[in-house]
Symmetry: C2
Subunit: 172 residues, 2 copies
């Protein structure tokens, strides 16, 4: 199973493609889509869309996993609109490729990857590096988040398959 994980943002959108087979995972690519805040918003959205479309064309993921949007009340009312705009073009790229979109909650990522929903960032990054056998740190924090999202979705799928198998075994 191959999953494209995405951490959306208009300034920087992180991405990470993870392939999983049994209990082995590896990272096919990871990075950031960055666009100057001086560019018009529509050009920044175009850069995000084009990059996600070319990642889908190159790595043929089975699903796109996107970080659930959480908005703290202290931020400007424009923040959720901008975040929504970035999410919109990512969801669109998935829909145009006929791929399912999965929302992944950051707390679930921590729980699944590091075994603790309140794990500090360093511990989550350490586990991502171990699980993916990375030689060094992920290229950025956003890329690390995206890899965590992809890993989490693959691992959840594995647990569900194992649970379904165990249920079938008991039924026999």
């Amino acid at each position: 199973m191959i999953v494209l994980g995405v951490d959306p943002g208009t300034v920087a959108t992180g991405y990470g493609v993870v392939a999983g087979e049994g209990n082995r995972f590896h990272c096919l690519t990871a990075g950031d889509i960055r666009s100057s805040a001086r560019n018009p918003m529509e050009m920044r959205l175009l850069a995000i869309f084009d990059c996600i479309e070319s990642l889908i064309a190159e790595f043929h993921p089975d699903a796109v996993a996107v970080e659930t949007a959480f908005i703290s009340k202290t931020k400007s009312p424009q923040t959720p609109i901008k975040l929504g705009q970035a999410r919109g073009v990512i969801l669109l790229a998935a829909a145009r490729a006929g791929l399912p979109v999965v929302d992944v909650n950051p707390v679930t990522v921590k729980q699944t990857v590091a075994g603790n929903g309140a794990a500090p960032k360093e511990q989550v990054i350490y586990m991502i590096k171990r699980l993916l056998n990375l030689p060094g740190d992920p290229p950025s924090e956003h890329a690390a988040d995206a890899l965590g999202i992809a890993l989490c979705h693959i691992q959840r799928g594995r647990y569900e398959a194992l649970a379904a198998g165990a249920t079938q075994g008991r039924r026999r």
Copy 2:
């Protein structure tokens, strides 16, 4: 000048294409893009994107005018995210066609179309019908909003051109 006006929303997105020549305007098309709330969000966004792309291909607008996003504090925190997602795919369709995107404030629409920023909806719709010489009501409230947005952008362009001409005249 031809302008595609859009009033974004994930349940219903209004659109209206207006052509202006001198002080005469006419409506080339107007309507709603509707998608069942039971469809996955990515499919609803795809429907909005496909429709905006085909309107651009058919009517060759010079610009896309989109209603500025205003969020009241009482609404759910998911509302601005959803609105942003719809805006995102509309802005993307414009960027892919190389068209400029203009944000149009609803108060400016009322001021420009009905001469009063606090004009009631009925008065704005009445003026839209008069200015565009429509035989009946616009197909929906969202379509009326989109026509108002397009009209407002064309009229503002006319005023600016007249003002620039007047300045040049005085300079001579």
